[in-house]
């Protein structure tokens, strides 16, 4: 038994770990009732990558590159290959990820299973939009190549399918060309929430990448103030230099007092006040632009041993800004500051994934230190706002949503259930569907 943790370090679980090193491997022989879940780099925040009492299939050593076409940028690699390794390989060749989450330390299999999105969602859609095909290994021993034309239903179920439809052994997807490793970046000071909507709207037209950091402790007329970052890949040919590995490390758990209302407030005030003009321009390497937190190994330890929650939801455009404002007000009132608050508008490019999270609207991601009941109470208060507005949560980040919220916001989950491999399950899935683990 092994105490592997998810990135949020909550909940604490125990499970067997079995290594899968080769895409040609068969699945381990399951004991009676043993349930599997693929586990890559463990960057899901909640329990989506955990399987309490079951078995995790560790895929990180199954990480070979199998084919690359330098003409089209189509890469086929084993599912345990990390985005980090792909960038190391692709950038010098003049290629970049079609879209990337805020960390490069995720596997390709995980990117498909969570149908991850990035700052270019309004232009590029989700990761799944760029997947040509993949191979799925089912517990009955079948190897199924899935694409929009072969096994199309399993293709749709597996993209955003949370690893439940079988083990993805390899993935073929399209990279995008770049002329330089640099990004032309503009940082825009946002005065309040209305300002955000205005600037975000205008930015999405001219910039491939947009995202805003928000000071979630600001209230009144400053509610929603923050910094919107927007960028494009530099057009003029530049050095195709890759990133370096992180040099900073958080070696120990911080005491849980380190991040409190005061320190978050101080940080937010300084961060916001740092910019003097409305728009600041810079040329940045892709690494600090896309992956600022990757610079510090184990940054999740700053939240201490009890871990933290990431609370990310989307609400549709139709429900206007009122809900977002209400959420900020309730957080400010609760005094539980979120160190990281990220706001972004999702575009309307549909994902092929059946359970895919992004949908047209506004997404807000918040980090909360785990303070037990106090935090859950806040989530309940926020949840009523989110549900009222027709919102939904991001399974890759979630450790909390009630089954009712899942059923309501992912109405096709029962249709999805038909594609789950009978030998696969996860702590997340059992929680949100109220299913008991078979032992």
């Amino acid at each position: 038994m092994n105490h592997l943790e998810s990135w949020g370090r909550y909940p604490k679980t125990t499970q067997n770990v079995r290594q899968v090193r080769w895409s040609s491997d068969t699945l381990p022989n399951a004991r009676e009732g043993e349930l599997f879940l693929p586990f890559g780099l463990g960057r899901s925040y909640g329990d989506g990558c955990l399987n309490d009492g079951g078995t995790l299939l560790a895929t990180r050593a199954m990480n070979r590159f199998l084919d690359f076409d330098p003409g089209t940028g189509i890469l086929r690699c084993e599912a345990g290959a990390s985005l980090d390794a792909i960038l190391q390989f692709a950038v010098p060749e003049g290629w970049f990820l079609p879209t990337t989450p805020g960390t490069k330390f995720v596997t390709v299999g995980g990117a498909v299973a969570n149908d991850v999105h990035g700052k270019n969602h309004h232009r590029a859609g989700t990761f799944g939009c760029h997947v040509k095909r993949f191979e799925l290994l089912r517990s009955d021993g079948r190897r199924l190549v899935c694409s929009p034309t072969e096994n199309p239903q399993l293709f749709a179920a597996t993209i955003g399918g949370l690893g439940l439809t079988g083990l993805i052994t390899w993935v073929e997807f399209a990279l995008r060309p770049i002329a330089s490793a640099m990004i032309d970046v503009e940082s825009v000071k946002i005065r309040n929430l209305d300002d955000f909507f205005e600037v975000s709207d205008e930015s999405d037209k001219a910039f491939e990448y947009t995202v805003a950091w928000v000071d979630c402790l600001a209230r009144g007329t400053a509610l929603g103030r923050g910094i919107l970052m927007r960028g494009n890949h530099a057009k003029e040919a530049g050095e195709l230099r890759t990133h370096r590995q992180p040099r900073l490390n958080v070696p120990l758990d911080f005491p849980s007092l380190a991040l409190n209302h005061l320190s978050v407030q101080a940080f937010n005030t300084l961060y916001y006040g740092r910019l003097k003009q409305r728009v600041t321009r810079a040329v940045k390497h892709y690494d600090p632009f896309f992956y600022p937190l990757d610079a510090v190994n184990h940054w999740n330890r700053i939240y201490g041993r009890r871990g933290f929650f990431q609370y990310q939801f989307t609400i549709p455009f139709s429900s206007n800004a009122g809900a977002i404002r209400e959420v900020f007000e309730r957080i400010a009132k609760s005094g539980q500051g979120s160190f990281l608050a990220v706001l972004k508008t999702f575009g309307d490019i549909p994902s092929p994934g059946m359970l895919s999270y992004p949908s047209p609207g506004i997404t807000l991601a918040l980090d909360f230190s785990n303070k037990g009941e106090r935090t859950f109470k806040l989530f309940e208060q926020l949840n009523s706002v989110v549900m009222e507005a027709g919102g939904r949560y991001y399974p890759a980040k979630d450790a909390w949503m009630p089954p009712e919220a899942f059923a309501r916001s992912y109405p096709n989950w029962e249709q999805f259930q038909a594609f789950i491999d009978p030998s696969f399950s996860s702590s997340f899935w059992r929680r949100v569907t109220r299913a008991e683990a078979k032992r």
């Binding site: 770990v17 290594q19 090193r21 080769w22 895409s23 040609s24 050593a61 070979r64 590159f65 199998l66 084919d67 690359f68 084993e78 390989f89």
Partner: protein, 245 residues
């Protein structure tokens, strides 16, 4: 340019080593048990480093295949500068105690098949009066312990064979390196608890590559195992016999 034969090429250490050698521009011949796995490694090396590598599936236990395999590798690469023996298995000690056949099989793979390859390679390298032979032994061979002595004894045999070979080939200018890794985080040790002593294959491979350039002795990797084993070796037998190691 270096021409290298890797035997047991699908082990985690060997795979990482092949990647580093390919990156440095070596031409490679990879031999292992599984054609499927060798094919996956070959594809990876081709995509990442743009090199075509030769692969051959071989049954280590069929000793008659050993000499022809080496001949074929030398022929395909146009000669050999480096050979690395990486194959091995970590036996279930308790099962070996119950079943002689298991003990014998472990000796065949961990000791006999390795020294069979080394014998053929030594004759070739002695004749060409150049080259480097590397074999992965183990710190477990430095002293027999109740928890792991079948493996330890097989690796001790291999280590002593390599000592003799090093001695014999010294005048011919052929270098022989005995690699003694401690615990390495690979599938072979996947069931063991990951402690402070557990090293990554990359660390071990970096040490092996350095030894391939100029080494000619026993290489403990990571380095601190030399001192750990020194202590373990000097404990008098009448005290050692009471220990639970």
């Amino acid at each position: 340019m270096k021409r290298a034969l890797i035997i047991g090429a699908t082990s985690a250490i060997a795979e990482s080593l092949a990647g580093q050698l390919a990156k440095a521009g070596a031409s490679l011949f990879l031999a292992g048990r599984s054609a499927e796995k060798l094919e996956l490694i070959a594809r990876d090396l081709k995509v990442r480093h743009g090199v075509e590598v030769e692969i051959a599936a071989i049954d280590f236990d069929d000793f008659d295949q050993h000499a022809p395999l080496i001949d074929r590798a030398a022929e395909r690469l146009g000669g050999l500068d480096l050979a690395v023996i990486c194959h091995g298995s970590l036996p279930d000690q308790k099962a070996c105690e119950r079943d002689w056949r298991l003990t014998e099989a472990e000796f065949r793979v961990n000791c006999l098949s390795a020294i069979s390859f080394l014998g053929h390679l030594a004759n070739r390298f002695e004749q060409q009066r150049a080259g480097c032979l590397i074999a992965i032994s183990s710190v477990a061979g430095d002293r027999g312990r109740q928890s792991n002595y079948v493996y330890g004894a097989a690796k001790a045999g291999l280590s002593a064979f390599l000592q003799g070979l090093r001695n014999r080939l010294y005048p011919a200018g052929v270098r022989v390196v005995t690699v003694k890794p401690g615990f390495v985080d690979t599938p072979m040790t996947a069931h063991l608890k990951k402690g402070l002593l557990m090293a990554s294959p990359e660390t071990v491979v970096r040490d092996i590559l350095r030894a391939a350039e100029s080494g000619n002795c026993e290489l403990y990797t990571p380095w601190f195992w030399r001192w750990i084993m020194l202590v373990i070796k000097v404990i008098p037998e009448r005290i050692f016999v009471r220990l639970k190691l």
